[in-house]
Amino acid sequence: MSAVSVLNDVTTQAPTLLAAVPLPMADGPRADFSDTPWWLSLIKAVGIFVYLLLSVLVVIWAERRIIGRMQQRPGPNRFGPFGVLQTLADGLKLIMKEDVTPKNADKVMFIIAPLMVGSLAFVSFGIIPMGGEVSMFGHTTPLQLTDMPVATLLVLAVAGVGAYGFVLAGWSSGSTYPLLGGLRSTAQVVSYEIAMGLSLVAVFLYAGSMSTSEIVAAQDRWWFVFPLFFSFIVYIITMVGETNRLPFDLAEGEGELGGGFHTEYSSMKFGMFFLGEYINMFTVSALATTLFLGGYNAPWPIGAINDGMFNEGWWGLLWFTAKMWLFIFFYVWLRGSLPRVRYDQFMKFGWKVLIPLSLIWVIAVMLMRAADPSIGYFGEGRLPVIITTALIIVGVVGGIMLLMSRLEKREAQRQEDRRPPAEVDPFAGGFPVPPMPGQTLREPAPRQRAVAPAQPLSGDTGAGDAGATEAGSTTTTTTTAVADREDTDETTGHTTGEDTRD
């Protein structure tokens, strides 16, 4: 009865309670597209397309140069100054190569798959704010193709659909390694999308919106990378997982799968995968910039100059590109430094480390937000913030200590199990062995005891120890004493019998 009434209370009062909750920010996008005619959007779309293609051309060259530098070799240096035109040459080569389709392949899907990968990669970039409001052809418009209240989710959605490309490529090739690569890719995307989504949730909680322009606007004072450092780390890890880049490029895995899902692809179809992979890199990097590094806002000392002069207009594009390239460099750095992880370890890391930790983190962020004075679920003033922070710190530290102690205990147990027994019987194996360090030698049995038959009822394992047997015989119970007597009788009888025979 009481449970029902409680339920009743919740259902009737919750709306009024929630209606009173103030929301820090508006839900909808900040960016104003009211002054943007359709042709201007078209121009922006083409602009993004060109921007991305150019970036890809540059990044492939840059990657090879940087890795070359890291590996103490020159890298491409033949075409153009510093080999800048190398990518172009590679692209031309790809286009002109023979396009092979395996006999066993599923023709339609074999063609659709790279198209999906190549084309879907561009979609997500549409919601990335690359700059503030600029004036183009007499219209004031944000440097962003479009925005919507759920813009950030769109990236995840498109990434999810894009994964079909890899899966289908793997399946439609009609051979084993690609299929395995496709399966891996499926599992990888599904698994890491969860952790990625959770890291985004923390951002949403701070920004109060899922619209990208709103999120950028919410970072005008603090970039989210500082309060949400953990989400940032998780996002960085998952974004590498999502884009199939080293050290997480298990779907390709040259060593194991001979190239993974794109083993059977050649010519421009392969080029599409290549393109898709790099554009995806740009997309997730751009998203990271937007979500954590303040988007197109200028970094702190510059942003403060002359009342934010460098935040205005086309300047944003510069800061945005710079920050995005930071991540690209990180990608390259990773590739140059880390070997590929093992597949099961990769999955284990995603499911057993990233997701649980992210969950805990989201809860902590939720509490922090609720305690924030501007929202004030827990009351007015600074006190709730301090208390909540303290509680979270205590919880985290306590959890870590608990974990450490358990690990330590397990390690100690393992050590204990591994430690050789304290005493060693030198003749156990039939020939003498020396003791290990820290081991003591068991005293050999006295000679006279070795002749007498074993005592079945005395119960002490150290039968060889003369002192122990003596002590035992003084304290034996009646039954033992009787048994002893019988024993000796038997032995004497036996010997006499032998005597007579002799």
């Binding site: 339920l7 919750a14 709306p15 209240p149 959605a157 999810g160 994964a163 899966v167 289908l168 499926t186």
Partner: protein, 264 residues
């Protein structure tokens, strides 16, 4: 419905129907799944067009991205080659199915046509605060109990799926450490198997690698190829070993010391 939306409807609507029909007629399960994914993305776009942006994105994200991916995963695990013969086994099933579905469609459409729908109100009022906020208020106030119940349902479903898919291991999985120790103990391939093509004259997996002394390492050829009889015999110092295809199985089990002795 504005002109743009009508255009969208007349483009996406038939696409969705085609996708659904694809589900009905596709021979291969993967094609069916892709058709289904197409329908789901289309529906997601419809939702967005109908001012349900959040639901639409979630539809694409969850349904197309996760649920259909799961379907694909299962299709690939279970085996893509459908061994189900196209001949209908239940007599009358196909005819009756068509008849009843057409009847159902007819009756339902007739019903929809008969009903007078009210003048559309639109979501402007309901979503004044923004689509996400409005939906959140709805879910976390009036529907909060259903929401919590759904949460527990999900947890239970996950547990159930894990129990169903779980297979008890009879012996503990061999770890890398164990495998390495085992290799050393048996003294076979202590440094790992030779990769195909090492010291070889051909860079292909069906060509056995050559050992430093020039003898072919049969074990370097994948067993699958051996089973299929797709290996390429390698002439060794003028002796053509054709006719005695490298037997990888035997090579795997036989201790290498004896093999080396044989060759020497």
């Amino acid at each position: 419905m504005s002109g743009g939306e009508a255009l969208l409807f007349w483009v996406l609507g038939p696409t969705c129907v085609l996708g659904a029909l694809g589900l009905l007629f596709a021979r291969k399960a993967v094609h069916a799944a892709m058709a289904m994914a197409l329908v789901m993305v289309g529906l997601g776009i419809f939702y967005i067009a109908q001012y349900a942006e959040f639901v639409g994105i979630i539809q694409i994200f969850v349904y197309s991205g996760a649920v259909m991916m799961l379907f694909l995963f299962v299709i690939m695990t279970v085996g893509t080659e459908s061994s189900i013969s196209p001949i209908e086994t239940i007599s009358g099933q196909r005819a009756w199915g068509w008849i009843l579905v057409l009847l159902f469609g007819g009756v339902a459409m007739y019903g929809v046509a008969r009903v007078t729908f009210p003048e559309p109100v639109g979501l402007g009022g309901a979503q004044a605060e923004g689509t996400v906020t409005a939906l959140a208020r709805e879910i976390f106030s009036r529907q909060v109990i259903s929401f919590e119940v759904l949460g527990s349902l999900l947890v239970i479903a996950v547990m159930g799926a894990m129990v169903l898919a779980h297979r008890e291991r009879l012996v503990p999985r061999a770890t890398q450490r164990v495998l390495a120790a085992d290799r050393v103990r048996r003294n076979t391939f202590v440094a790992g198997k030779p990769a195909p093509g090492v010291y070889a004259r051909h860079n292909a997996s069906d060509v056995p690698a050559l050992l430093p002394d020039g003898t072919p390492a049969d074990v370097s050829v994948p067993r699958t190829l051996v089973a299929r009889g797709q290996t390429v015999p390698v002439p060794y110092r003028g002796v053509d070993p054709a006719g005695t295809p490298p037997d990888a199985e035997a090579a795997d089990t036989a201790p290498p010391s004896t093999r080396r002795g044989d060759q020497a």
